[in-house]
Amino acid sequence: MLEKALVGSKRYYTLLAILAAIFGVGFLFYLRQLTFGLGITGLGRDVSWGFYIAQFTYLVGVAASAVMVVLPYYLHNYKAFGRVTILGEFLAVAAVSMCMLFIVIDLGRPDRLLNVLLYPTPNSVLFWDMVVLNGYLLLNIFIGWNVLEAERNEVAPPGWIKPLIYISIPWAVSIHTVTAFLYAGLPGRGFWLTAVMAPRFLSSAFAAGPALLILLCLIVRKYTKFDPGKEQIQTLAKIVTYATIINIFLFFCEVFTVFYSQIPEHMQHFTYLFFGLHGHGKLVPFMWFSLLGMIFAALMLVNPNNRRDEKKLAVLCGLVIITTWIDKGLGLITGGFVPNPLDKITEYWPTVPETFITLGVWAAGFLILTILYKVAVSIKEEIGA
């Protein structure tokens, strides 16, 4: 099937070339990071995780959201999603690949990465995150590839794939839960010390992931002969709508507990993010844009007329993607580190090399996505789906 990725239109090759070029630039900056050290980023002793780990967290959500097409199709026999499960699974593969790259580029000693396997440490959540992410990657590659191949040959998928599919459903939930547990169990970080973190991660993931999938479906329909389908997009839109609403609801649950209790260690991070603290407030406009944008998108999406208009839907999905990205990609990690455990404020902002390295990883992920989607779509075209 991979041969489908080797032949394509000029537009396909141009896209690959652009993504490869961005990846190349990012890689050059990464070589610089390898020689100089992580000091080329905006990180420091107070904000010791930043952009890389935030992208990782966001993308774990995108990966997990594949379950939103897999579950209705396989557990509820919702036939319509049969056309898009492969797109969801391959999106998960690309997203998990990016997650792993983001973890590797964040390490001070990537050459010692295998120490995680050589000295397995079950009390570390990071160890479990490695287990579930690798497992999820393999599951999606195996399932996606075999189901697609069976579809091409017009036979039923092999029997052994069914249990893997059923396993992949709770597994998807596990990857984002474990990722939330990375943060939610740290005693000294009031911003993260909340049981609502894993549910909130899942709700924002099930908003952002399917929103991205809708945009991808629209792109696939526009540029190929394969139409993922109107009904499919409408059902995904409903998922985006209610996941966004639940995400906002959980955010206000958190806000209530934090501000009604008035416990400073929990309040000050929210205060920093939304109002600024002692004159420091780099993220304030972003956080308000994220919150208000998310509420606006949710209100618009509830109205079925807005969802049915695919142009409006695309814009709203874009808004959901951006606002959830700001929430997790900028606010979540930095907010947890500011102020630091000694009640001091060091602000963080990614540097130019850090941004290019990040873009490089995104380009690598979209390169994988483009190739996988090319294979999937070519086969769908071939069998006249």
Binding site: F36, G37, L38, G39, L43, G44, R45, D46, S48, W49, I103, D106, L107, G108, R109, P110, R112, L113, N115, V116, L118, Y119, T121, N123, S124, V125, L126, F127, M130, L182, Y183, L186, P187, G188, R189, P264, E265, G336, F337, N340, P341, L342, D343, K344, T346
Partner: protein, 270 residues
């Protein structure tokens, strides 16, 4: 069997090639040496549970500085503000961000956030609280480390294996005291005078205070304790007659963020 260094290396190298390297080579050429090196020295200081009391009544600014300076000197901790090559210009913001500190002094409200109030004595406000790794009994950093590069010894010291650390900085997120430092760049050009008896670090690993485990092993007290003129009391909590136990019995002491359950083992007399 007598053997010179050159021959030893040659034979060890050859035997490595045929799979007899590592411990096997040592055992063949210098029997018993490996085990001998793992046994503690006769004069090593040992304890059931090491702990420290910082007596802020005795600790003045000058003594605090002495403690910090000696610690950073013996452990090859770089001073990023003073590069060895004067041509290297360091931005003060970078110096602050990349700073490595094993022990440092800070204000009351930074050392004990949440404890401060408007009417705290001037005396306390002015105190240079010496802060260092708390060598917690229930250390969050050890709990989160994915490679056991940081681990807790039987005697309570929380150690770092800087050769195993992958630099994920999970321990820095886990530590509620800000006691851990990461090498954001190569520290060596910022070490004024290298102490050859203690390793320097590479970029990309985390480090912190370990109650001078290397000095205890040689029968010496921690470097800061030696120069503190009695302001730092160090000893064994397992020994009821130890100075540290007596000090804790005779004085009211506080600890940093005890409510987090990490059970810190550095106590403060205010």
């Amino acid at each position: 069997m007598s053997i010179n260094r050159r021959e030893f290396i040659r034979i060890a190298g050859l035997s490595t090639l045929v799979g007899l390297g590592g411990k096997t080579a040592w055992e063949l050429l210098l029997p018993g040496q490996v085990e001998a090196q793992l046994l503690p020295k006769a004069n090593a200081l040992a304890a059931k549970r090491w702990a420290m009391v910082v007596d802020m009544k005795k600790l003045d600014e000058a003594t605090a500085k002495k403690c910090i300076d000696i610690c950073h000197k013996v452990h090859n901790v770089p001073n990023l503000a003073v590069p060895n090559d004067p041509k290297v210009k360091m931005d003060p913001a970078d110096v602050n961000r990349w700073q490595i500190k094993w022990i440092w002094s800070d204000h009351y409200h930074n050392a004990f956030p949440g404890q401060e109030h408007e009417y705290v004595q001037d005396r306390v406000q002015a105190m240079p609280f010496l802060l260092l790794c708390n060598q917690c009994n229930n250390p969050p950093c050890v709990r989160v480390c994915p490679t056991q590069a940081t681990f807790r010894r039987e005697d309570g010291i929380v150690m770092m294996d800087m050769h195993r650390c992958i630099g994920c900085r999970y321990c820095m997120a886990g530590c509620p005291y800000g006691s851990r430092s990461f090498n954001w760049r190569d520290p060596r050009p910022f070490i004024k005078q290298e102490n050859p008896t203690y390793p320097t670090r590479e970029k990309g690993v985390v480090e912190k205070c370990d109650f001078c485990a290397e000095r205890l092993a040689k029968g010496q007290m921690p470097a800061c304790v030696e120069v503190a003129g009695g302001a730092l009391v160090f000893g064994d909590l397992g020994d009821a007659k130890s100075k540290v136990r007596e000090t804790l019995k005779a004085n009211f002491t506080i600890r940093r963020k005890p409510e987090l359950g990490s059970n810190p083992q550095v106590y403060y007399i205010v």
